[in-house]
Each structure stands twice: as structure tokens, then as C-alpha cells.
């Protein structure tokens, strides 16, 4: 049964509610999406600042940081980052970036903003639940931020907070900070789950007439599949973290061996969540990039159906590969081999997607707009990140590179080179729809060029550091004779990282300037087929005057016989001899 139906009457109207209900405690998915945007950009900045502290210490170990004198003596004696502060920086950089920057940017922003618009619905299925989903991020973010300032400091167990290190203050001196981390993550999990309930229900039940499953844009498919991943994986994290919290507070010993607890159980539970989590962090990016590349090449996505099944395949396989984070953990080697097989297999659907993106560019008419540049960067960087993953999949090679900077390079190629470039692409692409003003193209291209160059200069050399044997989460590599010769690479990376961070000012400036005095944007500046481009910028409350009808698939660009090089989905295709989807 493929026909979609909904009895939801469409209506737009003047929103005459008071300011607080309209813009603060709003139930409008568009406002909520924008709220997520500003909140997560703030945390992206926080995560970036923490990274600057890490890079300073690694590039110039033992030297006083600029402005380090402003920090309390306990944190940075004489302006020098202490070992405890360093691991706190590492832990909180990962935590803020994953939970408070990338996830909310990809899911909180784009799922909320795009799904109802792209499927022809007036709003999400549960608008008030949606509002809660955003507002829960505030206490979660506050608790996590507070953990930086409490007595004993923030968590210092890495974003993966392995037990028993994280169980008791005996091993680190951190007490309250780790507990706040746990509470923050549980609240975050609830926010994520409420959002996912909305996204799934909305996509299943609120599609406009004619919007069948295989006419959904790949961005919507990706966000839908991501929401399913979240529903299945985030609760397991919640359970694991709650047991950790109880170990810390009410005297349980789930993960402490002295009373029969199992440290490895923490790892299994965490990574059972953790692996689907990384697909949560990349699938929406893939969906967004698909929309933008089809638009930029003026061609349908090559192999649309394969792209859908590839995402479903990645999501499904993503649940049976978690052990590859634990190859060296002491787990049964035969079990490890089973995980190696599943891990190797999951590379196949990812490869399929890359080839389909190339196929989309083939014989296209490529427009190098800022969103397109960022989307192309995603593809080229994801190729590197994906290929580096193959080294880790091979268990004997993983033995050497596990826990080294090779892994850090891989992580950042897929998360920054992948997810963040896609986020930037999405921001540049949908900004005119969100705010009615278009970001400056020239500044956008400058931002892109600087980011792309400094990003590669920062993270590519990390592969070399890893192969040379430099471990992760090390306060001072020069303790080891065999690492000293590579110290110039660390300095190079540090300088590149500072320049990378500085380059983001260009985008921040672009956003501020455009919001303050940008020109009014066209309704459809990118000449795109999506339903969101058929309504004003920004769209009114309720989105559509009348419920749209969808006539065909989402990427009808360069259709022979059509009046323009794109046919919006709410307009029929020109008549052709053979049948079309």
C-alpha cells in the first residue's frame, strides 16, 4: 500500500500569540528547529574552544597558554594546563561535540525544520512534545556545563567514560563532575527520544497525498531512519548510565569487580549504543548531502532506491558491529572475529552511496554554490574517513592502531570532514528559507576554502601520528622517546587547528551580518524541487495554505520537455511516452 493519505486540513493563519508563546515556548517545528540551531552552534563553539586547549598542550607541552593566567591555579598552574585539566578537556570536547553540537545540529535542526515542510504537513504530529524535546536540552546543557566548574572538576574518563575509572572518585578525584555528566546525558536521552517519537510518527502518518515512501527526499529518509536508530539505541545508553550513576551514588557495584561487577559490561552496553550513535551522526548528513548534490548537479540522485536501501542496510548492520570498538578489550577472540565480519560488511553500503553520489555528478551541470561545495567536501572527506575505517576492521591491524591518533584521525574525518561539512552545507542551503535572507555567497566560499584547507592540514597528519604509535588522550607525548621525533607534526597540527578555529569566524560573521541587514531572499533561490521552496520564506505558521498534492519523486531536475530545469514535486511532470515514478 503506497498511497499516503491524511485527513489533516491545511491552514495557515496569523499567529497572534504573545511573544513568549510564539518564539520562546513555541510549538512550531520551524521555531524549534531554529532554537536548536542557535543552541548547538553555541556548543559547537564551546567544543571548539576546548579543542584549542587540547591542541595547545599537545603542541607546546608544559608551556603556559595565552590567556592561561586567567584560569584558576588549580586548573592551570601558572597558565599551564595540568594533566587533570587536560583529560577534562579531552572528555568534555568529545561530550559537547557529539551530544550538544553535532547531534542537535543534524537532528534537532534539520529533522525539526525540514520534515513537516518536505512531506507537506502543517507541523509535527506532537507539537507540544516537540517543544519539550528542545527545552529538555536546556537543563541537560546546563548540567553538563556546570560540571566544568564544580569542585573536583569535570569528568575525566573520556566521552566513553569507561568503568571502573568512572565509577568512583578513588581513581580520579572527580566526584560531582562525573555525576552531573550522567544526569545530563539521561536528560539528553529523554530529549532525543521525544524528538524521535515525533519524527517517526510524523513521517509515517502526516505525509501529504501523493507523497509515497519512495517519493520522500533522501534527507527525510535519512532523518527517519536516524530516528529509528535513536529509539533503539539511546535507551540502552540511558540504562547503562543510570547503572553507572547508581555505582557512584547509592553503593551498587554493577561495574566494579570487587563485588562481582563487570567492567566489560559497561563497554558492551555503551558501544551497543555507541555504534548506532555514529550512524545517527552520519546518516542525516548523507541525506542532506544527497538533496544538495542533486540540486547542485541539476540531476536526479543516481540510484535513489539503492540509496534508500543502503541507508537501511547501514542502520540495520550498525546494530551488530559494536564489538569492533572492543577488539582489544579482552573479549573472546572468536566473538571479535564475528564482529570483524559484520564490520567489513557494513563498508559495502557506504561504498554504494559514494558511487551513487559520483553517478549523480556524472553528466550533470554542476553549480559550485556554497552549499554544493560543502556537500562535495563531505563526499571527498567521507571517502577518506571510510577507507581509514577498513584498517581498523582488520583485527590484527587494529591491534596496533587502536587507541592511537589513527583512530582520532578517522573519527574527525567522518565527524568533521563528514558531518560538519554536511551541516554547513545544510545551513547555507536552508538559511534563506529559515530567515528570509540569504547568506553572502562570497563570504560563504571564503569560509569553505579556509575551512577545507585548514581542516585537512589539521587532521590528515594525525594518521601519521597514529602509525608512529602516538596514543590517544596523552597529556605529554614527549615522555616517550619514540614519539619525540614526531613532535614537529604535533606543532604543525596545533597551528593548523588554531587557524581552522579562526576560520569559523567568517561564517559567524556572515550569519550575524545577514540576519542584521541581509537582503530579502527569493522564495526558491536554489531552484529546488522540494515542497519547502513552494511556501514563503520564512513559512507561515501551519506551512501550507492548502494541503499540497505530490505528483512525482523529489529530484526531477533537467526533465526533458519541462519549462524549467526543475519541476517542483507539487507540479505534474510534462507528459512523456513511458511511465514515470
Amino acid at each position: 500500500m503506497t498511497a499516503a493519505g491524511t485527513a489533516v486540513p491545511a491552514h495557515t493563519h496569523v499567529d497572534d500569540r504573545p511573544f513568549i508563546r510564539k518564539y520562546v515556548f513555541s510549538t512550531d517545528h520551524k521555531i524549534i528547529g531554529i532554537q536548536f540551531l542557535f543552541l548547538s552552534l553555541f556548543f559547537l563553539l564551546v567544543g571548539g574552544l576546548l579543542a584549542m586547549g587540547i591542541r595547545w598542550q599537545l603542541g607546546f607541552p608544559g608551556q603556559a597558554m595565552p590567556l592561561g593566567g586567567w584560569l584558576p591555579e588549580g586548573v592551570a598552574p601558572g597558565g599551564v594546563v595540568s594533566p587533570k585539566t587536560y583529560i577534562g578537556l579531552v572528555t568534555m570536547h568529545g561530550t559537547f561535540m557529539i551530544f550538544f553540537a553535532v547531534m542537535p545540529l543534524l537532528v534537532g535542526v534539520f529533522a525539526n525544520y525540514l520534515i513537516p515542510l518536505k512531506i507537506g504537513a502543517p507541523d509535527m504530529a506532537f507539537p507540544r512534545l516537540n517543544m519539550w524535546s528542545f527545552w529538555l536540552m536546556i537543563p541537560s546543557g546546563l548540567l553538563m556545563t556546570a560540571s566544568l566548574f564544580v569542585l573536583g572538576g569535570s569528568s575525566v574518563a573520556g566521552w566513553t567514560v569507561y568503568a571502573p575509572l568512572s565509577n568512583t572518585p578513588d581513581y580520579t578525584g572527580v566526584h560531582l563532575g562525573q555525576q552531573l555528566w550522567c544526569l545530563s546525558i539521561v536528560i539528553f536521552g529523554l530529549s532525543s527520544l521525544l524528538g524521535s517519537v515525533n519524527y517517526i510518527t510524523t513521517v509515517i502518518n502526516l505525509r501529504a497525498p501523493g507523497m509515497t515512501w519512495f517519493r520522500l527526499p533522501l534527507s527525510v529518509w535519512a532523518l527517519f531512519i536516524t530516528a529509528v536508530l535513536a529509539i533503539l539505541a539511546v535507551p540502552v545508553l540511558a540504562g547503562a548510565v543510570i547503572m553507572l550513576f547508581f555505582d557512584q551514588t547509592i553503593g551498587t557495584h554493577f561495574y566494579l569487580p570487587a563485588s562481582g561487577g563487570q567492567p566489560l559490561m559497561w563497554q558492551h552496553l555503551f558501544w551497543f549504543f555507541g555504534h548506532p550513535e555514529v550512524y545517527i551522526l552520519i546518516l542525516p548528513a548523507m541525506g542532506i548531502v544527497s538533496d544538495i548534490i542533486a540540486n547542485g548537479a541539476r540531476k536526479p540522485i543516481f540510484g535513489y532506491v539503492s540509496m534508500v536501501w543502503a541507508m537501511i542496510g547501514i542502520a540495520f548492520l550498525g546494530f551488530i558491529v559494536w564489538g569492533h570498538h572492543m577488539f582489544q578489550s579482552g573479549m573472546n577472540p572468536t566473538l571479535a572475529s564475528a564482529f570483524m565480519v559484520s564490520t567489513i560488511v557494513i563498508a559495502v553500503p557506504s561504498a554504494i552511496k559514494v558511487f551513487n553520489w559520483l553517478g549523480t555528478l556524472w553528466r550533470g551541470s554542476i553549480h559550485f554554490t556554497t552549499p554544493m561545495l560543502n556537500a562535495l567536501a563531505f563526499v571527498s572527506m567521507f571517502i577518506i574517513g571510510g577507507l581509514s575505517g577498513i584498517f581498523m576492521a582488520s583485527t590484527p591491524v587494529d591491534m596496533y592502531i587502536h587507541g592511537t591518533y589513527f583512530i582520532v584521525a578517522h573519527i574527525h574525518y567522518v565527524l568533521f570532514g563528514g558531518s560538519l561539512f554536511a551541516i554547513y552545507a545544510g545551513i547555507y542551503f536552508w538559511f534563506p528559507k529559515m530567515f528570509g535572507k540569504q547568506l553572502d555567497e562570497r563570504l560563504g566560499k571564503v569560509h569553505f576554502a579556509l575551512t577545507f584547507v585548514f581542516y585537512n592540514l589539521t587532521f590528515f597528519p594525525m594518521h601519521i601520528l597514529g602509525l608512529g604509535g602516538e596514543m590517544r588522550r596523552i597529556y605529554d607525548p614527549t615522555v616517550y622517546d619514540y614519539l619525540k621525533p614526531m613532535q614537529p607534526i604535533n606543532v604543525f597540527i596545533t597551528v593548523s587547528a588554531f587557524l581552522l578555529f579562526a576560520s569559523q569566524i567568517v561564517m559567524a560573521w556572515n550569519i550575524v551580518r545577514t540576519l542584521a541587514r541581509g537582503k530579502k531572499a527569493d522564495v526558491n533561490p536554489w531552484h529546488d524541487c522540494g515542497l519547502e521552496w513552494t511556501v514563503p520564506s520564512p513559512p507561515p505558521h501551519g506551512n501550507f495554505e492548502t494541503t499540497p498534492t505530490v505528483y512525482h519523486g523529489p529530484y526531477e531536475f533537467s526533465v526533458p520537455g519541462a519549462p524549467a530545469d526543475y519541476v517542483p514535486v507539487n507540479q505534474p511532470l510534462p507528459a512523456v511516452p513511458e511511465g514515470r515514478r
Binding site: 513537516p116 504530529a125 524521535s196 505525509r207 515512501w213 543510570i242 563485588s259 562481582g260
Partner: protein, 205 residues
């Protein structure tokens, strides 16, 4: 009332009471199903950990019946199951627009749920007095964690059920608007099912 509120109505969001989508499942019910899937995963994490700790390691584990009061908990389980029966009856009453029946069966469900929580709380008190705490080995840790979170979910269910009952008394489910009863019924049955599993593997085995 603002123009916004007038056009959006009170409950159910964009779907409203009558939204029916592609899979033929009412939106509110679909949302509850999706939420329950996440709850299944949450309890799976806790119960799975329990199973590993109890049967996958060499840890010390007392016989449950030497620590826990099986007879009274069995009676309590029966009460919770009865409250699921009354929930089914409440839904049937709502479907045939029998408002007095709906109100009666909802009240009985609230009573059953509240009784269950109270008896559990009393049992906790008793166990703590005996010296059985969350820090009493892995059994104590997993017992309190699993039953505690279950109790928390039942409590949320009871509070929601009270709110639904109040709305029923105000006639919000009259005239064929029974979907909300079905939705909360789903949650209620789920909570009951989790308890049956917990009772079996924590108390009985």
C-alpha cells in the same frame, strides 16, 4: 482565545483526533507504540545486564525467595493484572460510548495501580529494614534498579490515569472520541507486561 488556538484545537497536535495515516493507525496510538519500543530497549538494557550478572558470571547470588516476600508480591502481581483487565473494560466502554462504565473501570484501574505501587513501597520499606539495600551485592543492586524503574513507570502511569479519569468525568471521551483511552491503555498493558517478566526472572527463578 487567540486565532491560533482556535484553529489548532486542544489535544493531539497537528494530527488531531481524527488523523489517520498510511499504516491505518491513529497518530496518537502510533506515537505511543514508538515510545514503547524505546521503553522495551531501556528495560532490555537493565534486564539483560541482570541476566549477564546473575548467570554469566561467578558472582554470589542468594536464592530470591530467601530475601524477597514471594506470596505478597504474587498477590500484588495479580492486582496489577486485574488493573489491566479493568483497563480493557474501560476501553470497551469508551468504544461503545458507555460513559458511566468508562468512568467506573478507569477508577478501578487507578485503584489497582495505586495499590500496586503502595504495596511495592511497603515491601521496599520492609526490605530496607531487614538490611537489604542497593549496596547489598549485585542482587540488591539489580533488584532495586529494575523494580525501582518499573515502579517509577507505574507511578507515572497512575498519575496519567488519574488525569485521564478526570478528563473522562468532564466528558472528554464521549461521543466516539475514545482514542486517548486506547493510547493510555497501551502504556498500561506494557507496564504490566514488564512486571510479569520481572516477577518471573527476579522473584521466581
Amino acid at each position: 482565545m487567540t486565532a491560533h488556538a482556535a484553529t489548532h484545537g486542544m489535544a493531539g497536535g497537528a494530527g488531531g483526533e481524527h488523523a489517520q495515516g498510511a499504516v491505518g493507525v491513529h497518530t496518537q496510538k502510533l506515537g505511543m507504540w514508538v515510545f514503547l519500543v524505546s521503553e522495551v530497549m531501556f528495560f532490555t538494557a537493565l534486564i539483560g545486564s541482570y541476566i549477564i550478572l546473575r548467570w554469566g558470571t561467578n558472582a554470589e547470588w542468594p536464592e530470591p525467595r530467601t530475601v524477597l516476600a514471594i506470596p505478597i508480591t504474587a498477590a500484588n502481581t495479580f492486582i496489577l493484572i486485574c488493573s489491566s483487565v479493568s483497563m480493557v473494560k474501560a476501553y470497551a466502554a469508551a468504544v461503545r460510548d458507555d460513559q458511566p462504565g468508562l468512568k467506573k473501570w478507569l477508577l478501578l484501574t487507578v485503584l489497582g495501580g495505586a495499590t500496586f505501587v503502595s504495596v511495592q513501597a511497603f515491601e521496599y520499606h520492609h526490605l530496607v529494614e531487614k538490611g537489604f539495600l542497593p549496596s547489598s551485592g549485585l542482587f540488591g543492586a539489580s533488584f532495586y534498579t529494575m523494580t525501582g524503574f518499573h515502579g517509577f513507570h507505574v507511578t507515572c502511569g497512575v498519575l496519567s490515569m488519574i488525569w485521564v479519569t478526570i478528563r473522562a468525568f468532564r466528558g472528554k471521551y464521549a461521543g466516539g472520541r475514545f482514542h486517548g483511552i486506547e493510547t493510555i491503555g497501551l502504556y498500561w498493558h506494557f507496564v504490566d507486561l514488564v512486571w510479569i517478566i520481572l516477577f518471573t526472572i527476579v522473584y521466581l527463578i
